[in-house]
């Protein structure tokens, strides 16, 4: 029977555990919260993350990182990006070179703007890495609706293991060798989703959202290409696919944040009200500096950052986007 350890019992981590258990694997699910561990162990529920889901006995919750990493050499990393470095540093003495790590965290480290795979290599001896990303809204998967995701890795073994673990007729996996492209898309889509949320909150209509999504994709691609990604990735499931979902779904946190900002709420209030981390905020800060250093002009991302951090009103931010010249060489 295959085994997997899942680090992070948020909505996506819990859903992945559930998928793996349903496929017949034994899962050890790591969380920092003792209350959460008890709830899963006794009630077989994880209400904070995914209220409706019943978690089978195949899922063993734990608060011990050592137990989780000793349970399986195949590990899924599903933590918020802000926690990845700290947890990896803590995990470093417990992991070995034969551990395989699948990164399902979508985000950039705010301070260093490193990709998650870079953070993992900086903190541990791990080298066998993969990235899992795609248009995957957890509640839909939990209801058994069809979806697909991208597994980006150069290690055929991890690819095969993950397919064996997660794949079903309801959840398909596509392989990609482009780890950088998939990571960059996953991290930056949230910034565009904030912009789309702002447009929706201001009732600008579907046309405006399509405009922002298209411009946003081009901006994601230009940063991605600068980092060494392959162009095709952005036209794929982990690129445009994930972007479309994140920008239109009301389940997306970044989108909700954008809507709230458009309605005049302050960033801090909104974040505490959402009660969730927004990867978009960290990504917006990281992307702004990244673009500056790379000498790239990225108007959509810049306006989102200006709205988030410089006190520019959402309306003015969008206005200045619309005032930009639209012809080449203007």
């Amino acid at each position: 029977m295959s085994r997997v350890s899942v680090l992070g019992a948020g909505s996506w981590g819990t859903t992945l555990s559930w998928l793996a258990a349903r496929g017949g694997a034994r899962v050890m699910l790591w969380t920092r919260s003792e209350a959460q561990r008890r709830e899963i162990a006794h009630d077989r529920r994880n209400r904070a993350a995914s209220a409706g889901l019943r978690l089978s006995e195949a899922i063993t919750p734990t608060t011990s990182l050592a137990d989780a990493l000793g349970f399986s050499e195949l590990v899924l990393l599903v933590l918020p990006s802000a926690a990845v470095r700290e947890v990896m540093r803590e995990a470093a003495p417990m992991v070995t070179p034969s551990h395989r790590l699948v990164i399902a965290t979508k985000g950039l480290e705010e301070r260093t703007r490193r990709r998650m795979s870079e953070v993992v290599v900086e903190e541990t001896c791990l080298r066998q890495l993969a990235v899992l990303s795609g248009p995957n809204i957890a509640p839909e998967l939990q209801r058994g609706l069809p979806a697909a995701s991208v597994i980006a890795t150069r290690f055929p073994r991890i690819d095969a293991e993950l397919r064996g673990l997660l794949e079903s007729t309801r959840f398909r996996l596509f392989s990609s060798p482009d780890v950088i492209g998939v990571e960059v898309s996953a991290a930056l889509k949230n910034i565009v989703a904030i912009a789309a949320g702002i447009a929706d909150g201001l009732h600008l209509g579907e046309n405006a959202r399509a405009l922002l999504v298209t411009l946003g994709l081009a901006e994601i691609a230009s940063l991605g290409l600068a980092a060494g990604a392959q162009r095709e990735t952005f036209a794929g499931l982990a690129g445009i696919g994930d972007l479309v979902v994140t920008c239109s779904s009301t389940d997306s946190r970044s989108h909700r944040l954008g809507v709230a900002l458009a309605r005049g709420k302050a960033l801090e209030d909104e974040l505490s009200e959402l009660g969730m981390v927004s990867e978009g905020v960290a990504a917006a800060r990281a992307a702004r500096e990244w673009a500056r250093d790379a000498g790239l002009v990225l108007p959509v991302m810049e306006q989102v950052a200006a709205t988030l951090f410089d006190g520019v009103s959402p309306n003015d931010g969008l206005e200045s986007l619309l005032r930009r010249p639209t012809h080449h060489g203007g």
């Binding site: 470093a92 070995t96 070179p97 903190e123 150069r154 055929p156 073994r157």
Partner: protein
């Protein structure tokens, strides 16, 4: 130095083992045949015509045995070209007379304090650590490739650092000169024919390299495969030979060595002046333009230019920097004092895990290739951080940035470099230089690059004057000169070439 004959036998045995596994021998030989016909203009005469004829017959109607014999013959023939003829006595002799020889060439001024080249070579990094590591295992020295002078310089540096002679990968083109070729081969060089596309040749070269590493012979090769044409610090490394260090490491583990100990040593060269800069940048721009015929005149092949270059280096304040980077294991992990792999927090790790599944060693080509890519990325990163800023590269950056302000919109780079630049005002260049210095101090603080106080704290006017003087000492045509309050740039392409070395730092605003 490992015994050459033993190395040949071992290489041959390795390739043959591979061939035995290869059911597609006829297909393989057909490829050899095809590649053999593709390269009449190449440096190499291999394979010889009569072997090609036999191959043609064998791939059509030959028996398996005949094909196997021919494959062996072909491998032996490649091996003959690759393998060096290291000669201990010759090595000792040459290294003993080399300093004196250089003094003689350079005239009396050098004889007092040793040869100019030696004085001008600034070796930094932990040399003692390298000497210690050499006791524990095998070194794979992987330098950046700037100039054809690199080989001589590195050979000299290995000797001066007191390391054992290394087996030395050098481009086949360097062997075309019989005298140079003789010296190279007898000093431990083996030849690498980059143009040879025959898979069997590549297998032979790799088998030779792995065999040497397994025998404990330290090696040196240029992972970029060729000199950087544009001048930028290389970011794309060839993975073939780098992969050999991973293969040898894995084999060592498999055969029960608890620590086969292969140490990757990144070496970064930073030149204030580059011997064949003119030719390199011309070739680079040719490629940018998409020319079909590349410039082939190579200054580095003219001994007069070498002399001019070495004389040029005797100008004050010009030094070639050679940075010994931090040694790594083949998966780019750091090493402790005894050469054990450690994790980022300094705890020893068991690297056999990289190659084992459920405790057993497995062969996984894709996995090892990705490990090699990882090593390549780590090395590229080191090369940048170990680059030492020179006055010429920094000032070239400022000149380029100042000139770029007047670059007509949408003018292609090549045209802009060809067109000649209008004279630049000294005050503008100095302003740019101050700005660049400010940015540079930050980058040095972050560890993105290295620079000495004599540059970081120097007044920009002085740097400018020193750099212009430096350009003037070597390059035949004036590169840039000061006329009253103007700077006239005569050779924008050379300025562009030197500027590229530091382009990764983005020191100058608006200069993309």
């Amino acid at each position: 130095m490992v015994h050459e004959e033993r190395l040949r036998r071992e290489t041959l045995a390795r390739v043959e083992r591979g061939l035995r596994r290869d059911a597609q021998l006829a297909t393989l030989l057909r490829q050899s045949l095809w590649h053999g016909h593709q390269r009449p203009s190449s440096q190499s005469q291999l394979p010889p015509p009569q072997l090609l004829d036999e191959l043609r017959r064998a791939v059509v109607g030959g028996t398996g045995h005949e094909q196997r014999c021919l494959a062996r013959e072909l491998v032996e023939c490649y091996l003959g070209e690759i393998a060096g003829r290291f000669d201990v006595g010759f090595y000792r002799g040459v290294t003993r007379v080399l300093p004196a020889l250089l003094s003689l060439v350079l005239g009396e001024s050098a004889s007092v304090e040793g040869p100019a080249l030696a004085q001008r070579l600034d070796i930094r990094g932990d040399v003692e650590r390298l000497q210690r590591l050499e006791q524990f295992g095998t070194l794979v020295i992987v330098p950046t490739h700037v100039s054809n002078l690199d080989s001589a310089l590195l050979g000299y540096a290995v000797y001066r650092m007191g390391l054992q002679p290394v087996l030395y990968g050098a481009g086949l083109n360097l062997f075309s000169n019989p005298v140079v070729g003789f010296f190279l081969a007898h000093l431990g060089a083996y030849s690498v024919d980059r143009q040879q596309g025959d898979p069997l040749y590549r297998e032979t070269l790799k088998a030779y390299t792995v065999a040497a590493l397994r025998a404990g012979q330290s090696i040196l090769f240029f992972p970029a495969g060729t000199r950087s044409r544009s001048g930028v610090v290389e970011q794309r490394l060839k993975l073939g030979l780098l992969g050999c260090s991973i293969a040898a490491w894995r084999e060592g583990f498999e055969n029960g060595a608890r620590r086969p100990r292969i140490f990757i040593v990144p070496v970064t060269l930073s030149y204030p002046l580059v011997l064949e800069a003119q030719m390199l940048v011309e070739q680079h721009l040719s490629r940018v333009r998409g020319d079909r015929h590349l410039v082939t005149r190579d200054e580095s092949m003219l001994w007069q230019r070498w002399l001019a270059f070495v004389r040029g280096l005797s100008a004050p304040a010009l030094r070639i920097h050679l940075t010994i980077g931090e040694p790594l294991d083949p998966l780019a992990n750091r090493l402790d004092g005894c050469g054990r792999s450690i994790d980022p927090q300094g705890r020893p790790i068991d690297p056999t895990g990289y190659f084992r599944v459920a405790g057993r060693f497995t062969t996984d080509r894709a996995r090892d290739e990705e490990y090699t890519r990882h090593l390549g990325r780590a090395l590229s990163d080191r090369y940048r951080r170990d680059t030492v800023v020179t006055r010429t590269t920094l000032v070239a950056g400022a000149l380029c940035a100042a000139a770029a302000e007047q670059r007509p919109r949408r003018m292609p780079l090549v045209a802009w470099l060809d067109a000649g630049w209008p004279a630049l005002s000294v005050s503008m260049v100095v302003a740019r230089l101050s700005q660049g210095l400010r940015a540079l101090r930050e980058r040095v603080r972050d560890g993105a690059v290295r620079a000495d106080g004599v540059i970081l704290d120097a007044p920009p006017e002085k740097l400018l004057q020193q750099a212009l003087a430096a350009f003037a000492v070597y390059h035949r045509e004036p590169v840039a000169e000061r006329r009253a309050d103007r700077i006239v740039v005569h050779a924008p392409k050379l300025i562009y070439y030197y500027r590229n070395r530091l382009s990764f730092l983005r020191l100058f605003e608006g200069d993309a």
